[in-house]
Structure formats: structure tokens, C-alpha cells
Amino acid sequence: MTKVVPLILFCLLCASSLLGQEKVTLSGYVKDASNGETLIGATVFVVETQQGATSNDYGYYSLSVDPGNYTIEFAYLGFKSIRESIVLDKNTIRNIELGESTEQLTEVIVTGEAADKNVTDIEMSVSKLDIKTIKGVPALLGEVEVIRSLQLLPGVTSVGEGASGFNVRGGSIDQNLVLLDEAPVFNSSHLFGFFSVFNPDAIKDVKLYKGGIPARYGGRISSILDVRMKEGNSKNLAIDGGIGFIFSRLSVEAPIVKDKASFIVAGRRSYIDVLAKPFLNDGLEGSILNFYDLTLKTNYNINENNRVFLSGYFGRDNFGFGNAAGFNWGNSTGTLRWNHLFNERLFSNFTVYFSDYDYRINFGEDAVNSFTWKANIENYSVKPEFTYFINPKNILRFGGQAIVYTFTPGNAVGVSEGEISDVSLDDRYAIESAAYAEVEQDIGDRFSLNYGLRLSHFNYTGKGNAYTYGEFTPGARRPVIGVQEYGQWESIQTYLNLEPRLSVKYQLNDFSSLKASYNRTSQYIHLISNTTASTPVDVWTPSTNNIKPQIGDQVAIGYFRNFQNNTYEFSSEFYYKKMQNIVDYIDGADLLLNEFLEGDLLAGEGRAYGWELQAKKSKGTFTGWVSYTLARTERQVQGINQNNWYPSRFDQLHNLSINGFYDINDRWSVSGTFVFNSGTPTTFATSRYEQQGYVVPHNAIDTRNNVRIPNYHRLDIGATLKGRKKSPDDKWVGDWVFSIYNIYNRRNPFSIYFRQDGDRVLPDAPTTTEAIQLSVVGSFIPSISYNFKFQ
């Protein structure tokens, strides 16, 4: 952190030279009048000067102008704008509450902000999904899903149905930093990949940075998914809930001290095991299969200048088979934040968080023969952030972060006939730190810039052994040639990276703009996984003396245009991304409980490029969007595919989604989603040969991902019947949600694999070999769920 201080001083020095002398500041919070939730990205606009500001992640805005009388407009899409005349002769605090629009504006909005924000804002390559939109998308088994909804946006893909995580612009799933109230979530899935850990009842805002990543974010090279939780209703008690096929939800939010402190508690639990009980026999009785999560948050307004937030998440997936075996995994996070206003222009936030992902596996019915295995990644972080609203044309952000990691790659103890063998691996330790400064600047009426620099540092430390490995020969693991022991917190290897970030916007006219961005990002921790879909037992590993940090460079350019008074939005973006030191694996790599894992890893390069198009209608009774991505993502790794470039397993040339939402009347609304994805590549055996009577599949031309599985397409429809209040005092409103997933019953392939017939081969018969297409969802899936609200 010693590097942070001079940087901050430097930034402040630069900033002070930009300061006007006699300006006054209008500042405050923008909130939702109905529940007191702060509004992120609301606009505050000075009509006379045509200047504006946007409320930040905590709903705070600050605008500096010359003293005078002004008309100020506060606006947020879907809400009634407020226009106020304000005499600004001194610094003024104005907290504003916006009420929801009574007009039938739109039930489904893709962005909840100023109508032309997509064109006028400097941000590009950003996908925002309003929770209302997410709730409108027809969902698998009727369960509203954040991450599956994101996959309907350009540039976001997945290797297949049921796979956990998501791929952004050709990056692997561990290259996404998934933040829940600033704490990283290391495994964002329940039930492998069908549901995400985010409870929609507790989520306020979801924002995905695919490119043009500002300097305040770092740590992963492909994307940042910033999920913000609701603060909790500060006006009155509200209860939301839902009953579905897979799980039920309940959330309670209420003020603790009205307009001063509030909380939200939201929980979900699946009951597949309960429902499945009648079908479980043949030894499956007593099976456990469930997941649950609990999300909570509370906040307290100490005074105008100080507000604190405490939020947490705890979730778990459980599998158990009587006494014979058990397997569970889950995340827990905790975040404490303190917003402090040094003055009207200097907003700060101090975050302290912890985050943990762990899993446990046990086998064996008795103490004489058993196996237990635990692994986890745990980290603690402090993160001070400052926003300095210099004037309406300049905002300076600066801050830093320090993260302490403990990796427990495997604590495993086997007992064989009472003899204990501990095959645990040593814990690993690392400290990641960063400092950044970023300036958002308007130059004239047309140019906007966001430029910044992030300095990141990684220190891989003891206690533990550091190994050195011999030369790589294709097809073989590298042998250990040396070992050195290090003491606790003794540095084994350090890395330092300078990450420049730049975004430029040129406003062509009121309704169109050109944007461009460049960012360099570095990533110091890696998910070790060589399966098609990531499994819950995959282990995170730090960069070490053998594993270098991944470095990403991305350039993107885009054209943004709105039509018919912002009724239609259109965007077109090109991107090119280069990735260094991506992790790959030797054939037959041994990734779990392997002390010498690093000898099985390969480092390579990646490149991804594509064209993303999106057209969106966000006003009226019919809304929706079409997104299309033409993309390629490739890898080059010494020792794989004869050292030539090959497509990544999740490469998809075409990716189309069409999403429509229609409000038939006050009560009924319908929606539909169609997706089409090119088949992902996979590797087929070319030949077979016999060895000791077994038929061995063999790829004689030694290629990787050289054939494509068939294309994926699917249509889902949904309908919502909104409840009616029987009287104005009625506090209960219930909605019915109907959906059919995969309506035309297509068996979409997840993969095609080769196998020999599973039955015993008779000595005189040759072995039959065949290709099998695996469909994770093999039929259409109808569902009904009931959601209610008590307020």
C-alpha cells in the first residue's frame, strides 16, 4: 500500500488544478419513494447549463455550478421525473425521492436509467439488466435467473445447458470477477449450472463490464459482473415470496428506524429431494439433494455524511447418499461498507469483505474405511475508494485494495482398514494489492474520456514448498528438479503489472455516438479445470513461481444510436482481445490432490474477436431486444494441437437471441425468448486400436476441437397473470407465472462423445464403438409458479 499514497497525492494535485474557485455544489441521494432504495444511475440535469450528473452505486450525486438560480431535473426511467427550481448561492444538499410513473410506460426495461444513456454515457461494452427485465424473461422451471438472463445479451455465452458460469467475449469462466456487494463469489452456481446463487428478491442491480473496464475494477481479465443487493425497504414492511417446482423463496424487508435503518433477509431452499422421495428406492432412500441460500443486508444512516452497510450471503448445495457418501459445497461472503462524505464533492466508501468457497466430500460407512476431503479458497480484503466530483465535467476516482488469500487445495485423509493416511496438500498464501486513479472528463460538448491507471501487485508467499520443474516435453508432465522451503509470509514470487485503461466517447449528435476503449487487465488466481463444464470440485490456485499471471488486452469500438425519441436503441461493437499465460493442461493431467500440479499445467495464448449487435425497444406495451454476436475465440498452447491455434471449447460463431415482452392488458403479459447458437467444437477420435482386448480411441492427427457439434436452438414462452388488489387496503398481491421451456421439444446437444458398448464383450465378438449425443434438456419443460407480495 506504500505505493498508493504518492499516487493519491499526485491525483489530487492534478485535480486541484482543474478546480474552479467560486463554484457551489448541489449534492444528495436519489431514492425510490416507494421503498427508500437508493437509485443507481439516476440523472440530475441542470436545464440552464445543459449539464448533468449521474447518481453513483450508492445513489449519491454531486454537481458543481456557478452560483445562480437553476431548474434541476431529476430523472430515472420508469419513474416520474421531478423538476425543481433551486437557488444555488451556497453548497446545497438535496435528497430526492422519485415515485414510479403512473403512465403505462414499460413493465420491462432493459436499462433503468436515462432514456438516452446508452448513447450519451461514456461506458461501452456494458450490459445492464434491470431486475424487472430479468423477472420478465421466460425461465427454466419458472425460476428467475440472473446468469441465464445475462446469456441473452451479446458477447455472453456458455459452453452448454447446465454448465456453471458464463463466458464473456471468448474468456473462460474463471476470467469473470463476480461480485456480490463487492465480495467475490467463486462459484456462482447452484445445482452445477442450472441456477445461480443470486436471489432475485434481494438483488437491486446487475451490471456486466465486458470491455472498457474502468481502472477501479481489476483482478480478472475478461469481465466484471457487479451485483448489488437491495438495502431493504426503509418505508414499511414488505414480504415477497414465491413457490415453484424446484424451490421456494421468501424475503422480508422492513425499516428498523424509519428512513434511517432498514434490513432485508431473503432465503431460498430447493426441495427436489422432498418431491423426489417417492421415486427414490434401490438404495437411494435417505438421499439428500438440496440447495439453499440466505442473503441479508442491513444499513444505517448515521447522519448526512455517514452511512454503513452490512451484507452477507451464505449458500450451500448438499448431496448425500445415506451414510455411504456426502458431498456439499457453497460460498459465503460478508461485506461491511462505510460511505463517508468528506464534503459535498468528495465521496468515499470503505469496504471490508471476506469471501469463502469450500467443498467437502466424504466416503465410507465406518471409521475403519473412509475418505474425507475438504478444500477451500478464502480471502479477506480492504478497499478504500474515493470519488471526487471536481466539476460537472470532471470526476476523479481513486483508491486501492489489498486482498489476503488462503488457498486450501485439499485436506484429505483416507483410512484403509484402520490405517490412516493423510494426503493433504499444504495451504498456499498470497497477497494481492492494487492502487488506481481514474478520471472521467468531458471535453467540449462532444468528447468524453475516462482514463485511468491501475497498478496491481501479487505476492505469492510461504509458508510452503516452492518447486522448480524441468523442461517441458510434449505429452509428458514436467519433472520436479528442485524444492525450496519458505516461512510464513516469506515472499516466493512477486508480480507487478501496470494496467492502463481508456474509454473515449464522441457524441455525433443527440441520438448517436461513437465510442472506443482499451483496457489491460491482469489476473493472479486461476481456476484449475479441464472438464467441459466446470465442476464444483475445481480448485483455485494462485500465480506462483511456475504459474504466471494472466494478462488481457482488449480494444473495442462501437456505434450507438437511438431512434424515435429513444424508443429504439441500437448498438454495434467490435472487439479484439488478446490473452497471455492462459492455463491449459497436459493430456491426462492430474488436477486434484496433486502436490506437483504445476508440472501438469501448460501456459498458452488466447485471442478472441467479434462483432456484437443489439437492437432494443424499451418503451411501449411491446418491448424487447435482439442481440447477435459473430465471434471467434482461440487458443495456442505448446504441446496441444501440434502447436497450432485451435478454437476454445466454448467457441460459438453465431449467437442470436430474440426476446419479446408484451403487456396484453393490466393483468396479463406474455414473453418469449428464442436463442440460436452455433455448435461448440469438440475433439473426435479418428481411429481405434486394440490393446489387451480393449478398444482404445485414438486421434491419429493429434488435433484439438476440430469438429463441431450440431447447432443449438430453443424457444421459450412465458405468461404472467398479475394479481389484483381486492380493495385498496389489500396488502396481498399474488402473481401466477406460467412458462414452457424448449417449447418445440428439441434435443439440443451438449456434447457428442464416443464410447464402446457398455455390456460385456464376448471373447469371439468384436467390440462395437458408437457416437452418443448428450442432451442435458431432452424435452420441453412446462412450469407454473406463484409469486406473492405483502406490503
Binding site: G283, S416, S421, L592, R688, Q756, E770
Partner: protein, 311 residues
């Protein structure tokens, strides 16, 4: 520890389905996953010479097979390679000649006085064909531990299989890191030849990553001598009274172990469904001076054995 080992062996123990399969089964009760046999065209690839040379110190005819690889979907017996010269040189002083029996089989039968050799002996396989003059491979005969006992128990219907008699063998891994074995089971003298019956051990456990030396083999290895039922016979127990179970431990070289574990992983990779790994070629240990790639493995095993009548 490899995924397959985790997903399958860790839990399977006996003939039950894989952990993954069970999880999938339960998870997809409402989501019907399905598998269809499809027609696929594979890329053209050259046919390669295959050497199948797994010799043992047993008192029975020893066979080395020479065949050729064929297109993956060609479900026929492999094409035999006849007319080659096949010899094994022991400790650089004794040559054992394998006679061409036709159909790609080259055989040598040990005599009362002359077994193939002793533990620690070094062997060089030398083959010469019309196209490739010198093909060679090396192997050392490693030791196998004695099998102490085979235990048979009655187990009630559970996830691993129906009610019935199940067997388990007991043996202790030999001292020292890096001993590798192939445990073979025979039911009524019929070799259990399904891919998911392949039972390999690295010391007392599955692989090198976890160092468990000189222990009794861990339970999943001990129990993997029970036959996996065919799909139509899933309700049948592995053994009934009167059956004979034979368990053999064949010592492997590290190369042969790596080869067979890759072979098993590759054959069964599809059963990992969405968690399949990229396909990998098994690395053999046969070289040719002409640079042509030869498939297959040469290994000379010390074999220990125990028979047990099920009762």
C-alpha cells in the same frame, strides 16, 4: 487425482453407478437429459501399427499381437500384421523368440525350467516388419505384492448394487513410492473385461498425486473385483454361492500404468457427461527407428494370484 477417479472410483467401490450419474439422475428428475446414438463422420487418418505386448511370468503361453489401427466406427476385429520377426532380449544375454502363429499372434511358451525371468530383469522387445525394420521397447519386471485374502460379505441393496454377495481382496502395497499395479479379476475363469472394471493402483491408491505408500489397498480398489452387471442384469448380484473369484495383481512399469489409466479414462470419458475432459491419446512406449509412430505398450509383469470359492 483425476476427475474420473473422483467421480467414479471414489464412490463406486462396487458395481454401483458413478457418483456423477447418481447426482445427475436425481437432479434431472424433472429435467430429462437424454442420450441418442448418432451417425458421425470422422476425419480420415492413416492406419498405424499396433503392438500389444503385455507379457507375464506365468507358466502359460505368452503372446504378442501385431495389428493395425482402423477408423473409429469400424466395429470389426483389427487387421492382423503377419510375417514379422518378434524377439525379446532379457538382461542383454538371453533371446526369447516369439513364433508367428498367424492372425497377428506371435507366441512363446515357457517350459518347466524356463520362465520369462525374475523380478528386476530388464527386457528389450525387438520387432522387424517388412515396412519398418527396427521397432523396439524396453521394460523392467517390477514386483507384485502377495494377496493375503479375499473376503466375501452379504450386502443389502444400496446405491452400489442389489442384495447379494460381494467380494473384496486384501493385499498390502510393497514398500517404496511409485509401485504400480493392474488388478485383474476373473469370475469362473472368465476375465472381467469391461472398461469400468479396469482396476489400477499407484501404491495403495489411485495415482501419484496422493502419496499413500505401503498400505493395504484402499477400499475402492479392494472392491473393484466385483463384476459390473450388464444393463439387462442390473438386478443381479455380482456373485452367487459356488462361483469362483480369481484375483491377480500384475506389476506394471510406470509407462504401462500411465498408458492404461489414460486408456480407461478415454474409454469412459463420455460417462462424465458435461464434465468430460478433452480427449487425450494414450502414450505408449514403443519406438521405431524410422520415426513412424507405433501404438501400444510393452510390459513384463510379475503376477500374484489368489482364488476364492464364493460361499
Amino acid at each position: 487425482m483425476k476427475y474420473r477417479m473422483f467421480w467414479m472410483n471414489k464412490f463406486r467401490g462396487v458395481s454401483g453407478p458413478s457418483l456423477l450419474y447418481v447426482m445427475g439422475l436425481v437432479a434431472f428428475i424433472f429435467i430429462t437429459s437424454c442420450e441418442d446414438v448418432v451417425d458421425i463422420e470422422t476425419a480420415d487418418a492413416p492406419s498405424q501399427l499396433v503392438v500389444d505386448a503385455w507379457l507375464t511370468d506365468e507358466d502359460k503361453p505368452q503372446t504378442i499381437r501385431l495389428t493395425r489401427s482402423q477408423p473409429y466406427f469400424n466395429s470389426e476385429f483389427a487387421q492382423a500384421m503377419e510375417g514379422a520377426t518378434v524377439e525379446v532380449l532379457r538382461n542383454n544375454n538371453t533371446t526369447i523368440i516369439f513364433a508367428d502363429q498367424g492372425a497377428g499372434n506371435y507366441t512363446w511358451t515357457p517350459t518347466e525350467e524356463e520362465r520369462i525371468g525374475n523380478i528386476g530383469d530388464r527386457y528389450i522387445l525387438q520387432i522387424s516388419t517388412a515396412d519398418i525394420p527396427i521397432i523396439s521397447a524396453e521394460a523392467t519386471m517390477n514386483p507384485s505384492p502377495k494377496i493375503d485374502s479375499i473376503k466375501v460379505i452379504f450386502r443389502e441393496n444400496d446405491l452400489r448394487g442389489p442384495d447379494g454377495l460381494y467380494a473384496e481382496f486384501f493385499a498390502r502395497d510393497l514398500p517404496g513410492f511409485g509401485n504400480t499395479y493392474w488388478i485383474k479379476a476373473f469370475k469362473n475363469y472368465e476375465y472381467l473385461n469391461k472398461p469400468d472394471e479396469i482396476n489400477l493402483a499407484y501404491d495403495a491408491g489411485f495415482d501419484a498425486g496422493a502419496e499413500i505408500d505401503n498400505l493395504i489397498f484402499i477400499p475402492p480398489i479392494r472392491e473393484q473385483v466385483n463384476p459390473v452387471p450388464d444393463s439387462a442384469d442390473a438386478d443381479l448380484p455380482p456373485f452367487v454361492e459356488g462361483d469362483l473369484l480369481r484375483v491377480e495383481i500384475h506389476s506394471l512399469t510406470l509407462e504401462a500404468f500411465e498408458f492404461m489409466s489414460t486408456v480407461r479414462d478415454e474409454i469412459l470419458n463420455g460417462t462424465n457427461t458435461i464434465f468430460a475432459t478433452p480427449i487425450a491419446n494414450a502414450q505408449g512406449n514403443i519406438q521405431s527407428t524410422s520415426g513412424e509412430k507405433i501404438l501400444g505398450v510393452f510390459n513384463v509383469a510379475n503376477v500374484t494370484r489368489l482364488d476364492k470359492r464364493i460361499e
